[in-house]
Amino acid sequence: MTKASDLAPSYDLVVIGGGPAGLAAAALAARAGLTTVLFDENPGVGGQIYRAITFSPVKDRAVLGEDYWAGAELAAEAKASGALIVTGATVWSLDPTRLVGVSIAGQARLIEAKRVIIATGSLERPFPVPGWTLPGVMSAGGAQTVLKAQGLVPNGKTVLAGGGPLMWLLAAQILRAGGKIDAVLDTTPRKNWLRALAHLPDFVLSPYFAKGLKLLREVRAKVRVIRVDRLEAVGDDKLREVVFGKGDNERRMPADLLLLHQGVVPNVNLALAAGVAHAWNERQLCFEPVLDEDFNSSVPGISVAGDGAGIAGGTAAAERGRIAAIAAVRALKPEASVPDLQIVRQKLQREAMGRAFLDWLNRPADSFRQPEGDTIVCRCEEVTARQVRDTADLGCEGPNQMKAFLRCGMGPCQGRLRGLTVTELIAAQRGTTPAEVGYYRLRPPVKPITLSELASLPIAEAERKAVER
């Protein structure tokens, strides 16, 4: 186990996040001779898509599928490359001078980096429905995590709700593992087909097409799929039933576990805190960093690869990581040999095929992104949709100003689970666009650190002198 005190004071390249983008980037850079460290806060590498790839207890390869096991090769390559890979390492700060604040087992260090690749991936889009804070309501990604990493499968009365490829994949994985799903509530609006249709030919030719159809068939063969435009989790101290409906039709279903999913969005917190410029992506309804073709951001020396650069999926993430790493090698060690950039770019381009169709088809309905009334928007500070809307009506123009009034975004999650909701609500209420409203100015630490951890930073030379004098 690498300790904080084992870290060098500086590295050529610091890679943050050990998913496909981070693993591919670290492997390529280290092999080209850059001193490279990869930090990941989880107990193992793999990110979310290849979660627990090095120690998953799910031995039957059919359960998680071959796309999952493809991650093993990436992890092995990174390990063999000579990059220092540190798990259980939480990066809590990155600033425009590329100083990286990291904590390992309660000890903090500041590490200088000549280049930084942010590969913090994606997170699930907030899905604020009434009752979503009740115990027994969990994100679908969460259920997938405990399946991959701990071999835990739902076995009570289980309902899966939402839409998007990951939801169907999880449903199939749970079923293959012998788990139980009582119903899938599909929240995707049918009218999405109108905009998606133009991209259908491209999609049909992409690998997603065959895979997607197979998954849908696999799930539909075993589980009732019900299309809904309303969803509510009901319970006192925990989930008791799921209430859903379409039009005037309302149904209730007893449930122990409700798994929610409506796609993924870039995890922008670290890049924002580092001062990276971001822009609104209207197709994917999220903010993403502004990047050049090598994934360089607006901050010199900092690039963003993987789904954190905009949602494109796990295979694309690895290629993006390689492109960012090639740029880092070229900047620091131009004489080192690297893979042919054009070939990597072509691979990446192929991965983009079919994404437009998926994005438009799975675009979550407004009502599931812009809640009303007493539905909690901010889980940390327990702020409701009504409070956010009312505060916007009072003249509050942006999420930053709103913090002072509602504390919304000031809790430990720093807006990760509500930032988009708040931005969209303010935009809706004020008749403007999310692009215009903007996002939170993120303040470090991007992950909370204890006072003791902060106090554990090595005493700087200047302070030592001040004390001696």
Binding site: D237, C380, C413
Partner: protein, 97 residues
């Protein structure tokens, strides 16, 4: 809510609020709580509402627990260790407990 697919990991003994629970090597604290059927891990500091692990990937901060005396740790990021003492958190509980 959840069952274990295969009990492959070695048994790890941890306590939750003083009660022994059987965790497995490879569990995070949050996963161990879920596997043990513990339906909430804290109450919120604002309204006292019960909360349980939600995202399991370090972003939601719902699985905050006290681990070996250190409050507000993200249970989904902390691997279990033999002898670990986990406490669920009620309300305004952190420093000066």
């Amino acid at each position: 809510m959840f069952k274990r697919l295969a009990e492959t990991g070695a048994a790890v003994a941890i306590t939750v609020d003083g009660r022994q629970i059987a965790a497995r090597a490879g569990d995070t604290v949050a996963a161990a709580l879920i596997a043990a059927g513990i339906d909430h891990c804290r109450t919120t500091p604002v309204s006292g509402a019960p909360r349980a692990p939600y995202c399991l990937m370090g972003v939601c901060f719902e699985c905050l627990v006290t681990v070996d005396g250190v409050g507000s740790r993200q249970g989904c990021l902390v691997p279990v260790r033999d002898g670990m003492a986990v406490e669920t958190q009620t309300g305004k509980r952190e420093a000066g407990r």
